[in-house]
């Protein structure tokens, strides 16, 4: 090793990952795009040009570029740009919140199942196996359909779809980590299981689970908007990209661009999430 008398302290793990991420151009662009979308969504009440609910029978389906209506109007005469910005709030919410909730719930369950092993593990994993019998779309639709339309029901349905997947990843990683010698060394300290999990296991499990969860974000966006598209999510007249795709369907004949516009945003967000997730994954890889 070198002979410096003073060496710079090692930077924290996440800071290194962040630094690495800056070298991934696609990920950075995606992050930028997402930032713009999120800002537009969060600050929609201040940034949007019009009222998203104000309908006008005379101004229905104005084409893109009409004066005062930059992206045209929808089938009830409401300004598309405004509706898209407001729609971003609900769409992004419905995409992000379930993944976050599933991340917390799933990691906790997975940690317990993986660390404690034995009966606890079997009970948790076998119960979740039942959820694997359903393809995600079907499960989301079924639960949503059963609970009824509405924002909170959709959030619950989507969280329930993602929790089993995250638990699977968390449990798998925890089981591997648990067998490593440093966990045995930690057990030799006499510390409680809780302390060992918190100090030694958690940090090493969060990484892979986080990577997996970021990969779920795009799926969640598509699924959430899909639910609204089917009429199972947000109810009209709330603006939401999937719901807008649904209500604008009849407009595909004479104003196809407007009708396709909300979906383009779903696509944009989804692909940005995916590229960002890919970038995070390779940034974390190189460190190892």
């Amino acid at each position: 090793m070198n002979d410096q008398t003073q060496t710079s302290p090692s930077v924290g793990y996440w800071r290194v990952v962040l630094r690495q991420l800056k070298h991934e151009p696609l990920a950075m662009i995606s992050a930028g795009v997402l930032l713009v979308l999120i800002i537009a969504a969060v600050f929609a009440p201040w940034l949007a040009p019009a009222d998203p609910f104000k309908a006008s029978m005379l101004k229905r389906l104005l084409p893109i570029g009409s004066p005062g209506y930059l992206l045209g109007t929808d089938e009830l005469g409401r300004d598309m740009l405004t509706r898209l910005m407001y729609g971003g709030r609900l769409s992004l919410l419905m995409g992000i919140v379930p993944v976050f909730s599933a991340f917390f719930i799933g990691t906790t369950l997975g940690l317990f199942a993986g660390y404690l092993g034995g009966r606890v593990n079997m009970v948790i994993m076998r119960t979740l196996d039942i959820f694997y019998a359903f393809p995600s779309v079907l499960l989301a639709v079924a639960i949503s359909g059963a609970l009824g339309p509405g924002l909170s029901n959709s959030l619950i349905a989507l969280t329930l779809v993602f929790v089993p997947q995250i638990v699977r990843v968390a449990e798998s990683v925890t089981t591997q980590v648990r067998q490593l010698d440093y966990i045995e060394a930690a057990r030799m300290s006499g510390a409680s299981a809780f302390s060992i999990i918190r100090v030694h296991v958690l940090g090493n499990v969060l990484g892979p689970v986080f990577v997996y969860a970021t990969g779920l974000l795009s799926v969640s966006m598509i699924l959430a908007s899909g639910l609204s598209f089917l009429g199972l999510g947000v109810k009209p007249p709330e603006p939401e990209w999937g719901l807008m795709l649904n209500t604008l369907r009849s407009a595909i004949y004479n104003k196809p661009f407007i009708a396709a516009l909300p979906g383009a945003f779903i696509f944009l967000t989804s692909i940005a999430f995916n590229l960002l997730a890919d970038g995070v994954r390779s940034a974390m890889d190189i460190k190892k």
Partner: protein, 347 residues
């Protein structure tokens, strides 16, 4: 390079005096069930550790040798209570361990620590060296600040300058340095007994020598007792005061190091020793030290477990299990063999 110590060296009081063994292990047993078959008629078990008993004297090093699968690591983990034994007793300096009226397990953990073979897997890749070493004391009530101070002092003692190493991560260190960290981590508890499970096996020979010397120094400074598990007989010879030989989950021979190495009584020990490559050109041999296949550790046969490979096997060996008994009149050299052979000399 001797550093000044700020921390006291002995913490737990010596209760029984020098004559009382530090650790007595009686009839430790651990069978692992064999899981693969769905329709097995009777349950099969791997007899990993089968009625192992021994004692370790204070301030001495007990070397444990044997081939892979003989149960030495499992024994270590049973003693360390990383695995729970099926049956058996442990007495630490006169007090039962994890028994009613004895030492509680958490308290026991302060007295006994372990250094593992894989230096990299033994360290949490997410924690700095200092955090790793400081973790143990904090579990036992030491404040974070005090634990950090102790950690840095220990780093100094094992030969790693704290300014350079305390904030590093495990992947930035070499194998030898990591093992020193593991030793420091074990010492942070101020234990009386340290189990070294193949602790130097993965290191280069030159690094091994440094680490072994460090271990000897520490042992003398802190009145430590070592359980030194290894398959490398040279190293065992260098480090140990007493040697215990295990075969297929049982103790087959135990005695002072010179007796074992020069006057081994068990055929298995003799075979092990004859397999050590020698630098002496007059000591050539064509015969392999051991013939025959090792028996199945699952549901082993009756009688002596070495029966299929022993060059001196008799009928009684196949039916009666030999018990550990002194060799001749030497009371501290015991062997489990019906023949209790006239020990052959190995110079």
């Amino acid at each position: 390079m001797m550093a000044q110590e700020n921390t006291p060296i002995l913490n737990t009081e010596d209760r029984g005096g020098p004559a009382q063994p530090l650790l007595v292990v009686k009839d430790l047993k651990k069978y692992f069930p064999v899981r693969n078959e769905l329709f097995a008629k009777e349950k099969k078990f791997v007899h990993a550790v089968d009625n192992v008993s021994f004692s370790v004297a204070k301030g001495k090093t007990l070397g444990i040798v044997g081939e892979s699968g003989c149960g030495k690591s499992t024994t270590a983990k049973l003693i360390a209570r990383l695995i729970n034994p099926d049956s058996g007793k442990m007495v630490f300096d006169g007090d039962g361990v994890a028994e009613y009226g004895g030492i509680a397990l958490k308290e026991f953990r302060k007295n006994l620590q372990m250094v593992f073979q894989d230096s990299f897997a033994s360290l949490n890749p997410r924690l700095t060296i200092e955090q790793t070493i400081a973790y143990g004391p904090t579990v036992h009530g030491v404040s974070n600040a005090e634990a950090s101070v102790q950690a840095r002092a220990l780093l100094q003692r094992v030969g790693l300058a704290p300014e350079l190493f305390a904030s590093r991560y495990p992947h930035e260190l070499s194998g030898g340095q990591r093992q020193r960290v593991n030793i420091a981590r074990a010492l942070a508890y101020q234990p009386r007994l340290v189990i070294l499970d193949e602790a130097v096996a993965a290191l280069d020979k030159s690094v091994q020598a440094q680490v072994l010397n460090l271990l000897q120094e520490l042992k003398n400074e802190r009145q430590l007792t070592y359980l030194f598990i290894s398959h490398d007989l040279h190293v065992v010879h260098y480090m140990s005061d007493e040697v215990m030989v295990m075969y297929l989950g049982q103790v087959v021979e135990k005695g002072p190091v010179d007796r074992i190495f020069n006057h081994a009584a068990h055929p298995y020990t003799q075979a092990l020793l004859s397999a050590i490559p020698s630098m002496d050109p007059t000591k050539r041999t064509l015969k392999p030290p051991l013939e025959g296949d090792p028996p199945n550790p699952i549901n082993p046969p009756a009688g002596c477990r070495f029966q299929d490979r022993c060059p001196h096997v008799k009928d009684s060996c196949r039916s009666i299990s030999p018990k550990l008994a002194p060799v001749g009149v030497v009371f501290d050299h015991i062997v489990a063999c019906h023949l209790n052979l006239e020990p052959r000399t190995y110079a």
